[in-house]
């Protein structure tokens, strides 16, 4: 694909991702030419933008010929069927947690779709995420297992996720995934957040005829930023749209978010999240209250360093070092380091395909490489 076409495709996808945001400057309809359509549709599906593209198409902001509209609707129907089945499963999980007396908070997809967007169909999701108190994480895993879910990743050592991890993904017999969280983020930032406070920053939402707790608007913005910056190598445009969309909600307490960011050392993360939104969509995509909040953030050099370790350098083992430093207590540090350096054979086999010494040697390349780089 040549650069000119790529730019046009990127521009079309970016405009679809920002369709309907309050404050959008007036723009002509998003034009697509037939040659570009497969690339645009591919990006729309990748970034989970079928809902926004369909809404834009229905409103005339994305004029499509009948065959392209039909293709888009086919993908959007698949995404919505998935969302409905996930919500159906979430109702079962919520009921089971209630019986087991496990407090739980619905994160991301279903909550953001229902409260953040003008129509939940604008916001597809591919799994459901549920936050539980850390001391109930093991019990919640047992309940999910009872419901037929199985863990998708093997812990390096027993209870590693329950002690040090963000959570664990579980897949049901229907192939749909429930991500069980005990923290909002992996690594140091997850350790620094006071999750008792997060678990109290909630409000209720009705889903499938039963009440659930969701994060309140302030905590929703916080989590959207954490997810976009720390959730993977590059945020999807939907993750950036979530930040912009949730920032328009009137009940966001920006002063409280600033206080959390200071106390939990999240200023660099939030700064980067809002910068990504501005770079992706333009300055207009954030309301003035958010831009003012963004300007008030003064991340410390340490926060910036830890952010680099947890984002661009995470696959070089830097996040593990940063996590080790952030953990409280010698015993916790020793357990964490021990689990990473001497993980169980099943973990090694799942990661390297070999449970023998060759698997361990491959595993040790990461920390050894990281130490070598530091000593230079």
């Amino acid at each position: 694909m040549d650069t000119a076409v790529a730019t046009t495709v990127d521009d079309a996808v970016r405009r679809i991702a920002s369709y309907g945001l309050p404050g959008a400057p007036p723009e002509p309809p998003i034009e697509t030419v037939a040659d570009e359509w497969p690339a645009i549709l591919g990006q729309v599906v990748h970034h989970r933008l079928t809902g926004l593209a369909t809404a834009a198409s229905d409103a005339g902001a994305l004029p499509l010929p009948a065959d392209q509209q039909s293709e888009l609707l086919t993908h959007h129907r698949e995404a919505m069927v998935c969302a409905l089945f996930l919500e159906r499963d979430l109702v079962d999980v919520g009921e089971a947690f209630e019986v087991a007396e496990i407090d739980h908070v619905v994160l991301k997809g279903p909550a953001v779709a229902r409260v953040g967007y003008p129509d939940p169909s604008w916001r597809p999701f591919g799994d459901v995420d549920v936050l539980v108190p850390s001391d109930r994480f093991d019990a919640a895993c047992v309940v999910l297992s009872y419901l037929g879910y199985r863990r998708t990743f093997v812990d390096p050592r027993p209870r590693f996720s329950a002690r040090f991890g963000k959570g664990a993904a579980h897949v049901g017999s229907d192939g749909l995934e429930v991500d069980l969280h005990r923290l909002l983020a992996d690594g140091p930032f997850g350790y620094w957040i006071d999750h008792d406070e997060v678990l109290h920053s909630t409000t209720s939402i009705e889903l499938g005829g039963r009440p659930f707790l969701r994060l309140d608007d302030t905590a929703l913005v916080l989590h959207a930023c954490l997810h976009a910056v720390l959730g993977g190598p590059r945020p999807t445009l939907l993750q950036l749209r979530d930040i912009a969309q949730l920032s328009t909600r009137e009940d966001v307490r920006w002063n409280e978010l600033a206080e959390w960011a200071r106390r939990w050392r999240l200023r660099a993360v939030l700064e980067r999240a809002f910068d990504l939104v501005e770079r992706g969509f333009g300055e207009w995509a954030l309301p003035e209250a958010t831009r003012s909040f963004r300007r008030s953030l003064w991340p410390s050099p340490r926060e910036r360093r830890v952010l680099r370790a947890c984002a661009e350098e995470r696959f070089r083992g830097e996040r593990d070092w940063a996590s080790l430093r952030a953990l409280q207590g010698v015993r916790a540090k020793a357990s964490y380091a021990g689990a990473l350096v001497f993980p169980g054979r099943e973990f090694i086999r799942s990661r390297t395909g070999s449970g023998g010494w060759s698997g361990y040697l491959r595993r040790w390349r990461i920390p050894v490489g990281s130490m070598t780089a530091r000593s230079r």
Partner: protein
């Protein structure tokens, strides 16, 4: 017949897909799909309504009012039977 009022079942899960609507409920394996006018009826059920109230929103269509009301009622009764709606006698 029009004294009966209908509303969406509280546990129904649904989404717009373009002009259509898809629906499901907890503990079920099926997805129902309402296309175009059926989907429009569903959207009009945001508040409890009689078949006549809903049918009135379709005035101007080429069919007679009584015919539209009968069609709307048949759809709503089917949705009740499938558990997506509930019906109250006023």
């Amino acid at each position: 017949m029009s004294s009966r009022s209908y509303r969406r079942a509280p546990d129904v899960l649904w989404r717009n897909v373009g002009a259509d609507v898809i629906l499901t409920r907890p503990k079920t394996e099926t997805i129902a799909e309402l296309s175009e006018s059926g989907a429009e009826v569903w959207r009009l059920l945001e508040h409890q309504s009689t078949a006549r109230d809903v049918a009135a929103r379709f005035e101007g269509f080429s069919h007679a009012a009584a015919e539209i009301e009968a069609g709307v009622k048949a759809l709503l009764d089917d949705l009740v039977w499938r558990g997506y709606c509930s019906r109250d006698d006023r």
